[in-house]
């Protein structure tokens, strides 16, 4: 594992910018958010394809829809709760219902804007965005996957919501082609499967190592597409390990865990532990301490997994 950490926003911005060099349909929209989303260089180099609107997320989503009707591929990135909750109806109607080819990216998602408090946290974005028919929801897990997810997102025809974090993250594996709707087994195991998405996958892998020392063999699945979720892989994991635990920097209910449970209760019922943040306005503080507080660090995930499987011994 290469532990050199990279800023997810810069990775995202540079990945979009590189592809925009080759595809003039790609335009960048900003709600006073472009520079912080990694588009400073692009805005200088391509002022004709960089549109600043000031702090008006609702307006920008509607404008993006209108631009997409003429064949553009608008990309709009800003702080996650403001491009999901605040402008939800614009996404639902102007992008979803109108089926427009717009890419909305929520950065500083989850609790990564830890010290700024609950107004700036995004803990329900999976839950609400997945309910918009035809919308793809992505949560890439490392810098390389952000780059490949950006490519897949831009090649996909239709509305996409992608969330990225804020704190620098390490490269977990070699960059691979990103296939929307597919998860991947990152670690084999037989006692339990941990299914993680986005920023928590690093901790999930570390937790699996800790569990190993407790003689618990944990499979780890990385699930960078939250919607449509990889049903086949979930069923396979349920069949192999008989117990699933979902891990996400999101409310514990409504997100990936709920989607996994929907699949299992229909296709292959097994016990599921949904691990995330309880439905509350999360407290604030340093990111690492917040993860520890909500048991989303490696120790917390491993302990939660042990408590879960003990119920079945």
């Amino acid at each position: 594992m290469n532990l050199i950490k990279k800023d997810p926003r810069k990775e995202f911005g540079s990945a979009v910018s590189e592809l925009a060099e080759k595809d003039e349909r790609i335009v960048i929209l900003s709600a006073d958010s472009g520079n912080s989303s990694g588009f400073k260089d692009f805005s200088i180099k391509h002022p004709d394809r960089y549109f600043e609107f000031g702090i008006m997320e609702q307006g920008v989503v509607g404008i993006a829809s209108g631009m997409a009707t003429t064949g553009k591929i608008p990309v709009f990135c800003a702080i996650a709760p403001f491009v999901t909750c605040r402008s939800y109806e614009m996404f639902r109607n102007d992008l979803g219902y109108m089926n427009q080819n717009v890419k909305i990216v929520g950065r500083n998602s989850g609790i990564t804007y830890s010290e700024l408090g609950a107004t700036h946290h995004s803990l329900e974005d999976f839950a609400i965005m997945r309910m918009i028919p035809g919308t793809v929801v992505l949560a890439p897990q490392d810098p390389g996957e952000i780059r490949s997810a950006v490519k897949a997102m831009l090649e996909h025809q239709g509305p996409v919501y992608m969330r990225i974090g804020n704190s620098p993250i390490p490269q977990l594996w070699e960059e691979q082609k990103f296939e929307i709707g597919k998860g991947r087994i990152l670690r084999e195991g037989k006692d339990l499967t941990i299914i993680s998405t986005g920023t928590t996958t690093l901790q999930a892998l570390e937790a699996a190592e800790l569990l190993d020392k407790q003689n618990v063999s944990a499979m780890v699945i990385g699930m960078p597409t939250v919607c449509p979720v990889d049903e086949e892989l979930i069923i396979k994991a349920a069949q192999i390990t008989g117990k699933l635990m979902t891990v996400e920097e999101h409310y514990q209910y409504g997100g990936l865990g709920t989607m996994v449970a929907e699949v299992c209760c229909r296709e292959y019922p097994v016990p599921i532990k949904m691990h995330g943040i309880p439905k509350t306005y999360a407290t604030s503080g340093p990111y690492d301490e917040l993860l520890r507080y909500y048991r989303l660090d490696a120790d917390g995930i491993a302990d939660t997994a042990l408590e879960f499987i003990k119920k079945f011994i």
Binding site: F51, G59, G62, I63, G66, T70, D94, M98
Partner: protein, 285 residues
């Protein structure tokens, strides 16, 4: 006057189309549809570069009905202009209809956006106008907004953006019939003088009689009102215009007429068609 009378005749026929849809469903947002239908008629039969046989033509002008509940006007005019067969008008209110209670671009040719939730159309139109202009296209984007709709804050985000980018290819009519579902617009949330609000945002504005075809056409002929500024036309209209006993009444907003009322309305509109046909016929001679 020939052109104006001909447009008035078309608008009267479109009013009859509205009533045809109400015959099918028994109810609908009639009042606002009939207040703006003269403008919609002028757009589709006088101003806009559109092609019913090729509704997605690249260099077409766009029309967005931001106040999507007035869709009876849009359907009536699209049908009259030949975008779809008039028999579809008889399906209004029915299961799987192509003309639902708010327009759906995926169901009906000629519809550019899925409006209905108020406060969306202006931003979408702004994006269209910005994109078309940056591509060097001559197309204009026309929007009809409701007066009650102005209370949606999202409009003002788009209003600022349109002025900031100097979108003089964006043409917005506010259908100022003065009434919304709960009463007078000025009593519910007062945005008058409407033109002054937009002017303060950097728009070029004009007040007109929105049921006077000559004034509508004159305004369309004088676009852009000011180079480099988006256009805002406050169209002073009459809710339920053309059905005398429902004009200027809140009850016309969502009208559920009895059979007798509906027949009376049809008779009035058909009489106006006969009179206009006579005028137009005499002019032809």
């Amino acid at each position: 006057m020939t052109e104006i009378n001909r447009l008035n005749l078309t608008a009267a026929k479109c009013r009859r189309n509205v009533l045809r849809m109400l015959e099918a469903s028994g109810h609908g947002h009639m009042g606002g549809a009939l207040s703006c239908i003269d403008i919609v008629t002028a757009l589709y039969f006088y101003a806009m570069n559109i092609c019913p046989e090729d509704p997605k033509k690249e260099d077409r002008d766009r029309f967005l009905l931001s106040a999507g509940h007035k869709c009876l006007a849009q359907y009536a005019v699209l049908a009259e202009r030949g975008f779809f067969d008039k028999s579809i008008l008889d399906t209004f209110g029915g299961l799987h209809t192509k003309i639902p209670g708010h327009p759906d671009m995926h169901k009906l040719p000629g519809v550019e956006a899925n409006t209905g939730a108020l406060g969306h159309g202006l931003a979408i139109a702004c994006g269209m106008a910005l994109s078309l202009r940056s591509d060097g296209k001559p197309s204009k984007v026309y929007v009809i907004m409701g007066d009650g709709e102005l209370a949606e804050g999202s409009n003002w985000e788009a209003a600022a953006a349109a002025a900031h980018y100097g979108l003089d290819n964006l043409v917005v009519f506010v259908d100022f019939n003065g009434l919304q579902i709960s009463g007078k617009v000025t009593e519910i949330m007062n945005y008058t003088p409407i033109a002054d609000h937009f002017k303060a945002f950097g728009w070029a504005t004009r007040d007109i009689d929105g049921n006077n075809m000559q004034e509508i056409v004159d305004t369309l002929d004088s676009l852009p009102l000011e180079k480099g500024k988006p256009n805002l036309i406050v169209a002073h209209t009459v809710k339920g215009k053309g059905i005398s006993f429902e004009e200027n009444k809140v009850s016309s907003h969502y009208w559920s007429p009895g059979e007798e009322e509906l027949q009376r309305a049809i008779q009035e509109v058909e009489e106006s068609i006969r009179q206009l046909e006579k005028i137009c016929g005499e002019e032809t001679i």
